[in-house]
Amino acid sequence: MITIIDYGLGNLGSILNMLKKIGAKAQISSSLQEIERAEKLLLPGVGAFDNGMAQLRARGMVELLNWKALEQKVPVLGICLGMQLLGNRSEEGHESGLGWIDGQSVRFSFDGANSGLKVPHMGWNLVANSKQSALLKDMLEELRFYFVHSYHFACNQPQDELLKTHYGFDFTSAIEKNNIMGVQFHPEKSHKFGMRLLSNFANL
């Protein structure tokens, strides 16, 4: 059973729909009791970094999530803002992040030959592996995913980078450290590629 954390941000229905489609057991929950019992956690999120952290704090979820991720070591997947929250901080705000993966989110900024590139980075783009992972099991061909974001993750420890994507330059589009994973793109809106990635997460 995957528990999708409802902390007041974003459209959780799309993620649940795709998990249902691939036959994975999942629930959306804002209940601390249910999150405490969760076997796997999915941290979604769209919107501003500070608002995301403030919502997690206001619901008293941060300590519980620290315990689940760092002590109990259940698999955790952050999506979009949910990935950025796994880092230490973001240029977008002042709040500190969960700090599970050493890195921070920085705004896309382009000049010179790249000055025509638009922010947000929105649309389908390719990803390239930086390392092997069970999350990418049997995904050997060219992979593409749907992105919408203005900030991107920057790892301080290169070994935490799982996927990278080119937009003006190569940026980190997925991270993985032990049981903690994050993807900048939206698997729930990336049809067969997203289905396979979420199936792999469900089967961990």
Partner: protein, 253 residues
């Protein structure tokens, strides 16, 4: 490398999908949910749904239909038609649409763009501009499904909605709608060169080469098409199709 998005634009009329020519003569082309399922299998980049009678029938969006679409749509989609209030924007996003498309409301209540962009982010607020050439060749903006002319130039309107916080503009040529004659490249170019947000070309696509023209000469970030993806052959038999990924790659990227 970011891909140029190729977006089937599907018109809702009542419970069914239709396709028009120059905004007239709606022809039934099928069931929306069935179309979504087919487009899933074809790994489409994104979908646009426009309810073309919601505004003129003075009713709001069909939320039941939107949530049925969302439950089956494993790619991003935008919905437009009959949206006039921030609560409607919220409901559409909450049921699972990525983007809300405003047209008539963008003229009658520009504050809605500002309010919606502030609450949900610019990336989820799209303005569609319907444009028809006068007999003197002047590009004019129409609202209410092409029925009412408004006194603002397409370029001025595009600049205004960008300033209000719209994240994307669909430039739709009424004259080219359903004709397959190609996009109005001059119009696209005029608008894309006066704003910084992405432009979606719409109206007139008949072949893959038209997508490329819209991108390279028109400055479009994405291309939308209707007839090309719902009709087949010169007799316009209904057939839901979408080019193979490799074909699109060869043509666009």
């Amino acid at each position: 490398m970011l891909k140029t998005r190729v977006i089937p634009c599907l018109l809702l009329r009542g419970q069914g999908l239709v396709k028009t020519v120059k905004f007239k003569d709606p022809k039934y082309v099928g069931d929306p949910i069935n179309a979504v399922k087919i487009f899933n299998d074809k790994e489409v980049d994104e979908l646009i749904f426009m309810d073309i009678t919601a505004t003129i029938e003075k009713r709001g969006p069909n939320f039941k239909m939107i949530s049925e679409i969302a439950a089956e749509c494993f790619m991003p989609f935008g919905y437009g038609g009959g949206i006039s209030h921030i609560d409607e924007v919220r409901r559409i996003i909450n049921v699972g649409a990525e983007k809300v498309i405003l047209n008539t409301a963008a003229h009658l209540n520009p504050n809605l763009i500002e309010e919606a962009a502030a609450q949900f982010g610019s990336q989820s607020i799209v303005v569609a501009i319907d444009i028809k050439k006068s007999i003197f060749g002047k590009a004019e903006v129409f609202i209410e499904s092409g029925q009412k002319k408004v006194r603002i130039s397409p370029v001025d309107l595009a600049k205004r909605v960008e300033q209000l916080g719209a994240g994307e503009i669909i430039v739709n040529s009424i004259d080219r709608d359903g004709t397959g004659e190609g996009y109005d490249i001059d119009l696209l170019n005029k608008i894309s060169s006066s704003v910084h947000i992405p432009i979606v070309a719409s109206g007139g696509a008949g072949k893959l080469a038209d997508f490329r023209e819209a991108k390279t000469r028109g400055g479009a970030s994405a291309v939308a098409a209707g007839s090309m993806f719902v009709f087949h052959g010169k007799h316009r038999a209904v057939l839901i199709t979408y080019p193979e990924y490799a074909e699109l790659e060869a043509s666009l990227n």
